[in-house]
């Protein structure tokens, strides 16, 4: 696997909506480089044909019935909102409208 570059760290941080200052980015390049190099250890193992393990529990088909349950009172839904008008969660104006 290839060595991690600063641009990789910046790309990934942007995907995760994180902004790193220069020092943090430099440090992360070093740390992640070391960690990812360590993870290359897994390449020693032949995993050809091994089914990926998604769950610790081998259970399928767990469902709920289609019945309604009480929703939160609106005040409770909004009680932690950083900004609200009592009806909506308010955010800075969304420009990139889909």
């Amino acid at each position: 696997m290839k060595e991690i570059a600063r641009s990789d760290v910046e790309y990934v941080a942007a995907l995760a909506q994180l902004k790193l200052d220069d020092a943090a980015a430099d440090r992360l390049v070093g740390e992640l480089g070391e960690i990812l190099a360590y993870m290359d250890l897994l390449n020693e193992l032949d995993t050809e044909g091994v089914e990926p393990m998604m769950h610790a529990l081998e259970v399928t088909n767990v469902y709920r019935d289609d019945v309604t349950a009480p929703s939160l009172p609106r005040e409770a839904a909004l009680q932690n909102a950083p900004r609200t008008d009592g009806a909506y969660f308010l955010v800075p104006r969304i420009l990139d409208q889909e």
Partner: protein, 489 residues
């Protein structure tokens, strides 16, 4: 009052409550006084619920009077701050959730409440359960009650410290890669991670969903069993909670291990293990052998791949789980944010601590286009091999005995600068999470410096009973007394 109730086990308290020797209010008050006396130094609690605790204690007394009390009625419990509670705040000890009030109680919290437990408050942890020292908390630095210059372990460091410092009888923690067992070992208490799916995760703020499991930390094995009786079982709010019958785990505590085969993985006792840990752990195995258990050598050849596998999977899942902290519906929103993009970036960059950011970046990387197959998918395949590894080992034994940690508790600050070294120290605990197995950490001695050492028993899936039995028998017959931390001011 003749006893320091704060120092008692849950079953001692429960017996005394039922005999009328003490009231739940007196027990709660005793613990609250203890917290006042020592928590300034230990710093385990991030929130103490004085009024709520006394109210719950009164309700417990009423149940005891009415004859409807269960084994946990009136028993003091502290809760890791990763559990959602309608009482107080739920912050995961992160700045990004400062002051967050959960509109619901976690299923475990509700079950404990229904059992009559008395909640003393919320205890410290590494931010979002990411860490092994509790130093990643945005709130405070919790000290190891045995040596205030050392860490209590993590991420459930507040839980372990609160139990070890006699600030509660029981604490509820969470274990994603050893976060219950490692601090239990560092602080000299018993900590149990049940089988994945045994305990509902509803209301546990997710770190890594396929690995997280809630469990108890307590002063002895019996208290762990009693707590499991209350918190285990299927929950319709958690699709991954198993529909498997829950036995009365206390019935397993027979003291008899004559029929048990205890596996000792060769790979766990290499030169990587410090002598200070090796000695007591081997001695623990000998103790069980003396009581009739058969010791067998087993192999876990994939042990050395567990750390790499674990840190790919847990960071990948965490990168998605923590995306929701964006300042829209709750939590920290940076006041400088003028647009949506800033709101995300500033809130996250200033709301999350460095370890959390490191793991989010790592987890995002291993899932990103071009790297998914090489890291995430590879790790998922190795995860299956690791699980198969344990299954093979269990073909020749009923429980596996191994260390919890390579060394006793670190000095404060010792592990902060080298994340990889810190990750590598999880080597003995994380395989269990990857395989979804139950495991218990039991004190088995002290270092010459007076630091507790733990040993770990790992069981087959949904066979908590066997490891509880072995751990309890060991506890009965080990003849070791850790004593109590001095907590000299």
């Amino acid at each position: 009052m003749s006893r320091d109730w704060f120092g008692c086990t849950a079953h001692e308290i429960s017996d005394a409550l039922r005999s009328g020797a003490v009231t739940a209010r007196e027990v709660a008050q005793s613990c609250l006084d203890r917290i006042d006396a020592v928590d300034g130094r230990v710093q385990a609690y991030v929130e103490v619920w004085r009024d709520e605790a006394l109210r719950q204690a009164d309700a417990a007394d009423a149940r005891i009077q009415a004859g409807t009390a269960g084994p946990l009625t009136g028993v003091p419990v502290s809760l890791k701050d990763v559990l959602c509670t309608q009482t107080g705040a739920t912050t995961c000890c992160s700045r990004i959730l400062e002051g967050y009030r959960s509109p619901f109680d976690a299923t475990v919290v509700r079950r404990l409440q229904e059992a009559g437990a008395v909640f003393l408050g919320k205890v410290n942890m590494d931010e979002f359960a990411m860490g092994s020292t509790t130093e990643n908390s945005a709130r405070q630095v919790t000290r190891n009650p045995w040596d205030l210059e050392r860490v209590p372990g993590g991420s459930s460091g507040g839980s372990a410290a609160s139990v070890a410092a006699d600030e509660t009888a029981i604490s509820i923690g969470s274990d994603t890669g050893g976060s219950i067992r490692q601090p239990a070992a560092f602080c000299g208490c018993v900590g149990m991670k049940p089988t994945y799916g045994r305990v509902s995760r509803y209301g546990l703020v997710a770190f890594a969903s396929s690995l997280d499991q809630i469990g108890p930390l307590a002063k002895d094995v019996r208290d762990c069993a009693t707590t499991l009786n209350v918190i285990c079982g299927r929950d319709p709010h958690d699709s991954t909670s198993a529909d498997v019958p829950v036995p009365d785990f206390t019935e397993a505590l027979t003291g008899d291990v004559g029929d048990l085969r205890i596996g000792l993985p060769r790979e766990c006792f290499t030169e990587d293990l410090s002598d200070v840990v090796r000695g007591p752990v081997i001695q623990a195995a000998r103790t069980l052998e003396d009581r009739g258990a058969t010791l067998v050598d087993v192999d876990l050849p994939l042990l050395r791949y567990a750390v790499a596998t674990y840190y790919i999977i847990c960071t990948a899942e965490a990168s998605a789980n923590l995306a929701r902290f964006d300042g829209v519906r709750y939590g920290y929103r940076d006041p400088d944010a003028k647009n949506v993009q800033d709101m995300y970036v500033l809130s996250k960059s200033r709301g999350f601590g460095p370890e959390v950011q490191r793991r989010i970046v790592l987890g995002t990387y291993v899932l990103s286009s071009g790297y998914y197959d090489a890291y995430y998918l590879k790790a998922q395949r190795v995860r299956r091999l690791i699980r198969d590894d344990y299954a093979r080992a269990f073909a020749s034994c009923d429980a596996i005995l191994m260390p919890v940690t390579p060394s006793p508790a670190y000095r404060l600050g010792e592990m902060l600068d080298d994340p990889l070294q810190m990750y590598l120290a999880d080597i003995y605990t994380i395989g269990v999470n990857l395989a979804g197995l139950p495991a218990i950490s039991v004190p088995c001695g002290k270092s010459s410096a007076g630091l507790p050492i733990g040993m770990q028993l790992v069981g087959k899936a949904f066979d908590e009973a066997t490891i509880l039995r072995a751990a309890h028998a060991y506890e009965l017959h080990a003849g070791i007394a850790l004593g109590r931390p001095a907590l000299a001011g």
